[in-house]
């Protein structure tokens, strides 16, 4: 199996008859390609777990079809879908050794003993579990147990997709990085389709080839980490990704300029006047905006945060709090008058939360 | 197919479970003449005479009153005394704490038969013989340790930080305990109260040994029926049915918490 297709998939949990349907997952069409690593990123309740459960078979979608390659598997039970799943907490068989844990799926499928042994050792090598093969699974650390959970999914050679549901939740912060790198290494070694659900953008951005950002049951954007960072399609994407995320100022647009509370921003495109009642915002990342003594927009510094590698300055503009990078050596202190400069090409216009391109100025 | 056999099994189990109870109810609506006359699946000449007798005869309905009284007394006493002790065991270490805890639990394993005679002497000598207080206190032998054990488990599930925050916020300890802490372990108190009620309500040996006339519990009144001329099966059955009602009511109210309760916060 090479790919997974979501065809008009949507899911509303059954409610009282006659009541309007509440969609936990709004309609989505997407093709997940073989061998790529995807992340489903979003806050709690955004529908990412529902989507994962639809793919794994725990939930049958109320609308739409799910295709593995070209086969309709929408109603096929989990165990027949050739997927592997890693959960939020390690799922291992307490009474068995590590080797027996890994061998379990193969034994249930009637594989021959030597073939099982070879395969178990192969996967154990891949996951650095070789020295622990003879130990009881029960006594190992949480990250080792998660590796066993993963390993049990990988031993089956007919597995084509691995689904992860926030797998690093119970892992010690110090070990998260290691386990993340191991997951990436496994992905590269086995060329499997991997779908990884998380609410942590660092996990998503480091693991995935493509990230699916979700909110309130809808997919807001699908793109590479770079695309999401540089060209967020939705204001939520801009806000959620990045640390700190994008700043948003309510503005009025006049041709190639944006106005906010007396400040004027030059835009690099012309915009037609927005309709009445539309929400117009200017979005810019702190990474591409600087606070210094001189610049086009006057602000007053509220607070300064020293993060080590860079220093951030917090200020208020057009009634909203914003943050930008403090130019080193500027000698500014809280309460000082300063100026904001946004790097060209990094001031984005969002109309009704959607990023809008103008015509060339 | 699998699902079918499961519900079949449990239905069969429940039906068999209810057979003796159904039989008792069946007999409670028959007269003695009919009972000893012939066997039948339902009363051919149904009568509520047995139940009427119970409701009119003070010995019988007082029996119920006495039983309910000492059970409630015991539950209140056991849980109230156990709460501070459970708190201490859960939150602090002190000299002899482990030994004391184990000794407490060992009282759960005290055969009532061993204590029947000593209790008889003891409560007689303090003048509490034949009172509901005697039974209520006697049942504390096993109910207090049980309540301590259950509550300790639940209290340990509440983070210490809550106690410390309350202290920092300036709450006096009694205020903190009553207003803040108790609501947090309401579940545990419910579980402990349930088990105290259960073990006190069902116990017979001590309840009978410690009473004669004035505090006779219903289970003791029932034994009287044996010495009457010819067994009064109908009456006995009716009493039996009535004694099942308090238990049924209690379970009905806690049915949604049964699973959690039996976990005792420790499973």
């Amino acid at each position: 199996m090479a790919s997974i297709t979501l065809d008009h998939i949507a899911h509303a949990y059954p409610g009282p008859p006659g009541a309007p349907k509440h969609y936990a997952l709004k309609q989505i069409d997407h093709l997940w390609q073989q061998g790529r690593a995807y992340a489903l990123l979003g806050p709690s309740g955004c529908g990412k777990t529902t989507l994962l459960n639809i793919i794994s078979g725990l939930v049958i979608p109320s609308e739409g079809r799910l295709l593995f390659d070209n086969t309709d598997v929408t109603r096929l039970p989990t165990e027949r879908r050739n997927i592997a799943q890693v959960f939020q907490f390690p799922v291992i068989y307490d009474t068995m050794t590590v080797a027996e844990n890994l061998a379990f799926p193969l034994k249930n499928r009637g594989m021959e003993r030597n073939a099982i042994k070879r395969r178990v050792e192969e996967i154990a090598d891949l996951l650095d579990l070789r020295p622990d093969l003879g130990r009881r699974a029960r006594g190992l650390t949480a990250d080792a147990k998660q590796k066993i959970s993963l390993g049990r999914g990988l031993v089956r050679s007919d597995v084509s997709a691995v689904l992860f549901d926030e797998p690093l939740t119970v892992i010690d912060p110090a070990l998260k990085w290691e386990l993340r790198s191991k997951l990436k290494a496994v992905h590269q070694a086995l060329d499997l389709l991997m779908i990884y659900v998380t609410h942590d953008q660092v996990e998503a951005l480091t693991f995935a080839d493509e990230v699916v950002v979700m909110k309130d049951g809808a997919v807001l954007q699908i793109g590479t980490p770079a695309e999401l960072f540089e060209s967020p399609a939705h204001s939520f994407v801009g806000y959620f990704i990045g640390s700190p995320g994008m700043n948003f100022l309510p503005v009025t647009i006049d041709g190639a300029r944006a106005h906010a509370d007396g400040a004027v921003f030059d835009l690099d495109a012309r915009y037609a006047p927005p309709g009445a009642g539309q929400k117009v915002e200017l979005g810019f990342r702190p990474d591409y905006a600087t606070i210094s003594r001189q610049g086009p927009v006057a602000v007053r510094v509220d607070r300064i945060e020293d993060l080590g590698r860079r220093t951030l300055a917090r200020f208020t503009l057009a009634g909203k709090e914003a943050v930008a990078t403090l130019v080193p050596g500027s000698g500014l202190a809280p309460g000082d008058d300063a100026a904001l400069t946004i790097a060209p090409g990094h001031a984005h216009v969002f109309i009704d939360d959607l990023r809008t391109e103008g015509s060339p100025a | 197919m699998r699902i079918q056999s499961r519900s079949l099994f449990i239905t069969l189990y429940l039906v068999l479970l209810f057979l003796p109870i159904y039989w008792l109810v069946n007999m409670s609506f028959k007269t003695n003449a009919e009972i000893t006359g012939h066997l039948s699946f339902w009363p051919h000449h149904p009568t509520i005479g047995n139940y009427a007798h119970i409701f009119h005869d003070p010995v019988w309905y007082n029996g119920f009153l006495h039983s309910l009284t000492y059970v409630v007394l015991n539950t209140v006493i056991s849980v109230s005394l156990a709460l501070p002790a459970a708190y201490a065991f859960s939150r602090y270490r002190f000299i002899g704490d482990k030994h004391l805890f184990f000794w407490l639990l060992s009282n759960l394993m005290a055969p009532p038969a061993v204590f029947a005679m000593p209790f008889f002497n003891l409560y007689y000598s303090v003048g509490l013989f034949d009172t509901v207080w005697a039974v209520a206190l006697a049942h504390c032998l096993f109910n207090v340790p049980l309540a301590v054990w259950i509550l300790e488990g639940f209290i340990s599930g509440v983070p210490r930080e809550i106690d410390e925050t309350a202290a920092l916020d300036g709450y006096s300890f009694p205020h903190f305990f009553a207003k803040i802490f108790l609501p947090l372990i309401a579940n545990g108190i419910g579980v402990a109260a349930f088990f105290c009620f259960m073990f006190s309500w069902v116990e017979q040996l001590l309840a009978t040994t410690l009473t004669t006339i004035h505090a006779k519990p219903i289970v003791a009144v029932m034994t009287q029926v044996y010495s009457a001329a010819g067994m009064d099966w109908g009456l006995l059955s009716a009493v039996g049915v009535l004694t099942m009602i308090p238990g049924a009511i209690v379970i009905w109210f806690v049915r949604n918490h049964i699973a959690k309760g039996f976990a005792l916060g420790r499973v």
Binding site: N108, A142 | I10, L141, Q204, M244, R266
Partner: protein, 296 residues
């Protein structure tokens, strides 16, 4: 897990419990110990008897000793039999309790009901139920040709008491197991299905290991109660026919309250209590061992 702080003033919290349990437990036991080492000429006239009562009790060739030895064997056999019956049955029932809807609450209530019936009434129910003349059970068994008579035939008497105990207490094991099963997260079942495990395999590799702790508690509680059993057999068979169902507590009550044979009763009480404590201590140790070995 922070270490608990030392605070000897915590004793104040424990004092009320201490007082009442001392009153209920230590004080009576002191009188029992007293009686166990004394003999009386009547008229409240006691003299020291040393360990004579105990020697008498623990010597199977004496009257008392023989009686005790037989009763002990009966108790142990009884506890073993009911454990072998109730534990598997309880687990089986727990596995079959419905998962959704109104049936869950209804099943739990019905399963729990026998646990809240006063033990006297449990005995009465079965006393009636097992009779050949007025009881459905007794009559039915005789109707299909079995020679069942629980007042005259020791086998029938034993069978009745065993079945009564299973009827009475299986619910407790079922409820405890049910609580244990509910604590197993769904993910384990899902993972097992993905692994292609059979139903039996799921039971052996997931459910049973996770029920371990609950089952130890259940076995401990059932053993304790069954070893101390008094009321139900007292009502149904009175210890008979002959001495066929005379368990230790039945003998003890007869000797203590019936015959007021203080010395023998006291010695028997102490030995009985000690045996119970020892076996429970062993269970308790096993439980805490399991706790420690659990790990993450």
């Amino acid at each position: 897990m922070m270490d608990k702080p030392w605070n000897n003033r915590a004793w104040l919290f424990v004092v009320p419990v201490l007082i009442i349990v001392l009153f209920s437990s230590l004080l009576p036991m002191m009188t029992v110990v007293n009686y166990s080492v004394q003999d009386t000429m009547g008229q409240n006239n006691f003299f020291w008897n040393g360990v004579a009562w105990f020697q008498n009790l623990l010597d199977p060739t004496t009257d008392m000793g023989g009686r005790f030895a037989n009763a002990l064997v009966r108790n142990l056999i009884f506890s073993l039999v009911i454990l072998c019956l109730e534990v598997p049955l309880g687990i089986a029932v727990a596995l079959c309790i419905p998962k959704h809807g109104w049936r869950v609450g209804a099943s739990l209530v019905l399963i729990a009901l026998p646990l809240l019936i006063p033990w006297e009434v449990v005995g009465t129910i079965w006393q009636i139920f097992a009779r050949q003349d007025i009881g459905l059970f007794g009559a039915a068994l005789n109707a299909i040709g079995l020679h069942y008579n629980d007042t005259q035939d020791p086998t029938s008497a034993w069978a009745t008491i065993v079945i009564m105990d299973v009827w009475h207490w299986t619910g407790m094991i079922a409820l405890l197991s049910y609580a244990g099963l509910k604590a197993i997260p769904d993910a384990f079942y899902q993972a097992a299905r993905i692994d292609g495990a059979s139903r039996w395999s799921i039971f052996r590799n997931i459910e049973l290991p996770k029920l371990q702790k609950v089952l130890v508690i259940a076995v401990l509680l059932r053993f304790m109660e069954s070893f101390m059993i008094y009321t139900e057999p007292s009502v149904v068979t009175g210890g008979g026919p002959g001495e066929a169902t005379s368990f230790i507590s039945l003998d003890l009550v007869k000797i203590a309250l019936g015959q007021v044979d203080l010395g023998n009763a006291a010695a028997l009480s102490i030995v009985y209590y000690l045996i119970t404590l020892t076996i429970c201590y062993v269970f308790f140790t096993i439980m805490t061992q399991l706790d420690q070995r659990k790990g993450v």
